[in-house]
Amino acid sequence: MRFKRSYLWYLIGLVALLVLPQVISSPYTMFLLNMAVIYIILALGLNVVFGMTGMLNLASLAFSGIGAYTSGVLAVRFGLPFPLALIGAVLVTMAFGLVIGLPTIRIGGHYLAFMTIAFGEIMRLIFQNWTPVTGGAIGLSGIKYATIGPLVFKTHWSYYYLSVTLLLIMVYIANRVRVSKLGRAFEAVRGSEVAARALGINTYYHKVLAFVLGAAFGGVAGTLYAFLMRYVDPGTFTFEDSARVLTMVMVGGRGSIAGVVVGAFLLTFLPEWLRFLKDYYMAIYGLGILLIVLFLPGGVASLWDKVRARLAASRRSPAVQTSAGKG
């Protein structure tokens, strides 16, 4: 019963996603939509690492940067088409995830968060200064339009279909992980490592696995970014933006895939919707984040749960509404 209903929601969402570009005429809005997709993928990756497994990774953008530069370099210097550049980028980000994850995760706890900050800063410096490979401060340009066989994704509209396809694949993977024994193991690690171990779960292995999986999401997002911009700017992959991805997960509701999708979408568009506030919009945006953390700690996902509980209660009987609301 629960499963069927969730499939229905997926179907509605899918149709909406496919129809959406048809009602948008502004290239800038389409561009933002593509950016939203990229952020959603990043947030989904962080959701595996942080939302499910409980490891605070503050270097989401470092992984997307590695993905963007890898695919960019593969495309520009080796002439690889989009699909191969994508695969290469995913493998390289996963390798980075493994190399960074193995030593840092053993230390664990609050240290991990800071290790990832340090990692993010180091990657940023490498992007900026390893000129022969990354193009240094000028960035990496000359990326051709993404192509898959005969298909060429030139406009933001056509590109959207490419990015949404990848998004759906990533949502599918994230959801598979969540509802399977792997997701349960991740959540167990988040809940109590000692108890997880007592049930035979190798927590270290699972934490590294989650970290590497999360990195793969960064690889996909980075590749999409590189081919969307057709240029990779070293100034893009900042700590602040990584923090923004964390905020998307928290605002959406950690652990909830639908919540994270909504959170990432909202936070990509919110600054645009707040543009009428002119100079104040970033300040209001910061304030908004604070308010959500204070008053909706479970994120948008918990709001949805509350509404559903309320609906269920009123459907059952008006008389028990108050008691059901409390319970």
């Binding site: 942080f50 605070l56 030593p103 840092t104 053993r106 230390i107 664990g108 706890g109 609050h110 240290y111 968060a113 800071f114 290790m115 900050i117 340090a118 800063e121 180091i122 410096l125 200064n129 109590s192 490592e193 000692v194 700590f239 602040e240 923090a243 964390l246 905020t247 928290m250 100079d279 104040y280 970033m282 300040a283 945006y285 910061g286 304030l287 908004g288 984040i289 604070l290 953390v293 204070l294 700690p297």
Partner: protein
Amino acid sequence: MGSLVQIGVNGLAQGSIYALLALAIAVIYNTTETFNFAQGEFVLLAAYLSASLMGVMPWYLAMLVAIAAISLFGATAFQRVAYWPLRNATFEFVIVSTLGVSLFLRNIAKIIWGAIPRPYPEYFGGVWRVAGISIVKQHVLILAVTGLLIFLFYLFMMKTTLGAMMRATAQNKQAATLMGVKVNRMVSLTYFFAALLGSVAGILIAPIYFLTIDMGMATMNKGFAATIVGGFGSIPGAIVGGLLLGLVEAFATAFISPVYKDAYTFVTLIAILVFLPRGIFGERIAEKV
């Protein structure tokens, strides 16, 4: 030899600033077991506020007023909004809430003072030449003020009842509460110190760099790096970590290349984490059974 001393003084001065930030981070971590990602905004606000106040009052008064204002802000409104409501939540919540406040404050500062970097009024400029060595006066000031501040902080923690209460809270919150320590007062005091240390750092560092909207962020990141190097929650660790990073940066910049100035910090960081995973003075962190 002379240049070595010069580089050393330069490094120690930089390192003192990092140490002040790391100290603030350690104080907050000890009392609240979480982090304040808006710590850099105290640096930023104090620097800009004091620069503006210098238009209407003498520089030393402007500084004192700015430091007092920011410290009180940290102890009251800031802490009440960004930390207190989340004191029982897990530490990530406070990270995100302080990130939100940080964005808010930085952009308010941008609205008030503009996005264009500008010089800080020089109040203690110039260079001393002693036996062929040139020493920037501001560096000496930084060392002196930091030293004094750390000494006073030490006295406060070790010799006063309030300091003893703070130490008790850091060690065992429950026991401290049972002994009659009021946690909310300790939190206020903690954030007062954090904001005080941050704002002093801001005023000390502003003449060396320009006033920029990102100066707080940049300084805070170094403070965090110093925290990791020194070890979480360790007061001596914060000081040693900060000074060490400053020295590494100064010497590496002088002898290797200035291009990777920021990279040296993080390379040090990685080296420390590989060889001394819990920092120089760090403790083992493990889930209690």
